[in-house]
């Protein structure tokens, strides 16, 4: 289970787990679960388009994910963004439907991009993922405090000179970035659960920001690793395990905080 092609799956999965925990911490803090769901879905259309012209699907992801994220950021106001999010993802997926209709013999690849494929991780993808992850983590480290403050008390942040619009855009770009690296492995439909379930579980247990983020990473890693192993052993799609295990952790967190009260 650990050799050959699977080694890449483990490596990418681990990286994805770490970044999901870190970025996911902010996704839940900012109430951006819908955006976290919408960006990967939108990027799927890009992958379909890339496949159509014979390019690497990851290239399509890398283009469509930021376009979707920034469109949502520009078209919607920070407080009422749900309508714009729904429409941007629908528009992108409409394009995806178009691309799919133009190509033939595509269903298996569609399935893999939507629900995850642990066997298809190339070395090139591994290096790309590692690079994007480094960039993402550095970015988070640099904007950590303004991002944290503007997520919790935006008025206070603005008064101190934090450019909350800019910070918000950076956050969206981070979501796009993690989308690009994760979708090939975990799937467009389900990768957002890694950004939502583990941090939500973590914050039921931990009170301080840094500790919560660390715990989110731990839970995300546990989810990814368990999913990879289960998918390998059962040949069932990895997306299924990610979705269900993330939900399980979330419920465990809810149960824990209900019991504590």
């Amino acid at each position: 289970m650990f050799s050959g092609v699977m080694a890449n799956a483990w490596a990418v999965g681990t990286i994805v787990g770490v970044v999901s925990g870190v970025v996911g911490f902010f996704v839940v803090l900012r109430g951006a679960s819908f955006v976290a769901h919408a960006v990967p879905l939108s990027s799927f259309a890009g992958a379909a388009g890339a496949n159509l012209v014979g390019a690497d699907p990851v290239l399509g992801l890398a283009v469509f994910a930021p376009v979707a994220a920034l469109s949502i950021g520009w078209l919607g106001s920070r407080r009422r963004r749900d309508v714009v999010t729904a429409l941007v993802v629908a528009a992108m997926l409409g394009l995806g439907a178009l691309f799919l209709s133009w190509s033939t013999q595509y269903s298996a690849a569609v399935y893999g991009l939507l629900f995850g494929d642990i066997l298809g991780v190339s070395d090139g993808q591994l290096w790309l993922t590692a690079g994007l992850a480094m960039a993402g983590l550095v970015a988070v480290a640099l904007i950590y405090r303004p991002l944290l403050l503007s997520s919790v008390a935006p008025d206070a942040a603005a008064a101190r000179g934090v450019r909350i619009g800019l910070v918000d855009m950076l956050f969206l770009v981070l979501v796009a970035l993690i989308t690009t690296m994760s979708v090939p492995v975990v799937g467009a439909l389900l990768m957002f659960t890694l950004m939502v379930g583990p941090p939500a579980a973590a914050r039921s247990v931990s009170r301080a920001p840094a500790q919560t983020m660390a715990l989110a990473v731990v839970v995300a890693l546990a989810t990814v690793w368990a999913s990879i192993a289960a998918s390998y052993l059962s040949t069932w799609p990895i997306g299924f395990f990610v979705g269900v295990i993330a939900a399980a952790f979330y419920l465990a967190g809810r149960a824990w905080s209900a019991l504590r009260r």
Binding site: L29, V152, A153, D155, A156, A157, V162, R163, S204
Partner: protein, 283 residues
């Protein structure tokens, strides 16, 4: 969000240009200590609506100034101008270079949010700075001291979203003050507090004002809670302002002229009641 344009606003005042310098060195007309904040003839319009109409007042070091006015009278707009978040259409704003401590009106935080009171206060030190910062004992000590000063020690490790109105207000004050500002601005701090908590907060702020030589500007729609502590009052109606001591401003003739409507000021056993022309309560 329009970025603050400090140069345009502060260029006129020579002493405000000296970065980080204590304002005490300046030539200032008005009063006991140095003027920390001054508005002159500030007007702001949103479209056709004139929200602020040539508003002028000042706040000195050690002064506790209240802005009194109904909702919609322009209080929040004044704060945004003072903070540099909104450029006035006319007039001058002179404000300190060292940042201003701000306690916003509405801070709605989910109870699950993994931020403790002490984390929020820590962000008050340098929450706007980019870059990595390692934990330090000195910083933690400073945060602890601030938390104790506002009486938030007992709940320093509680999640911010689980605090009561009064408790959260104390934490927000600590957040605003831990960075050692010269001016503290509070937007309707009493709005959602019960009477007792409200009085406690006002007393806390007054005490901190005198202990730390702060200048404080806070807004409310009922001045009675502030009466014992206010040095001066800025009375706002329909975007027009009158400022001075309570005795100078809160008078029937002055307020009638301000409201452009007959207003009577009554002292009912120490409580000031402002009543409109025909026994209609105007707040």
């Amino acid at each position: 969000m329009p970025d603050p344009q400090p140069d345009a606003l502060e260029a006129a005042a020579p002493w405000a240009d000296v970065a980080g310098a204590d304002v005490a060195g300046a030539e200032v007309v008005s009063g006991a200590g140095a003027t920390v904040l001054r508005l002159e003839g500030v007007s702001v319009s949103f479209g056709d609506r004139l929200v602020l109409d040539e508003v002028g007042f000042s706040v000195d070091r050690g002064e506790f100034v209240g802005i009194i006015g109904a909702n919609g009278s322009g209080k929040t707009t004044i704060f945004r101008v003072v903070l540099g978040l909104l450029a006035p259409d006319a007039g001058r704003v002179i404000r300190p270079r060292r940042h201003i401590g701000y306690v916003p009106q509405k801070v709605a935080i989910d109870p699950d949010t993994p931020i403790r009171a002490r984390d929020l206060v820590t962000l008050g030190i340098d929450g706007e700075r980019y870059g990595v910062r390692l934990p330090s004992a000195a910083r933690r000590a400073r945060v602890d001291e601030m938390l104790d000063a506002v009486g938030a020690g007992p709940f320093a490790d509680a999640r911010v979203g689980t605090l009561s109105g009064g408790e959260l207000q104390r934490v927000l004050i600590a957040h605003a003050l831990v960075g050692d500002p010269q001016l503290l601005i509070m937007d309707e701090p009493l709005a959602n507090l019960d009477i007792k908590s409200g009085h406690e907060i006002v007393e806390l702020v007054a005490r901190l004002t005198h202990e730390r030589g702060l200048a404080v500007l806070l807004s409310a729609h009922d001045m009675n809670a502030l009466l014992p502590h206010m040095d001066r009052v800025v009375y706002l109606a329909d975007g027009r302002a009158v400022s001075g001591t309570t005795g100078e401003v809160v008078r029937s003739d002055v307020l009638s002229e301000l409201y452009r409507y007959p207003v009577r000021v009554l002292d009912v056993d120490g409580t000031i009641v402002v009543v409109g022309g025909h026994d209609v309560r105007v707040r």
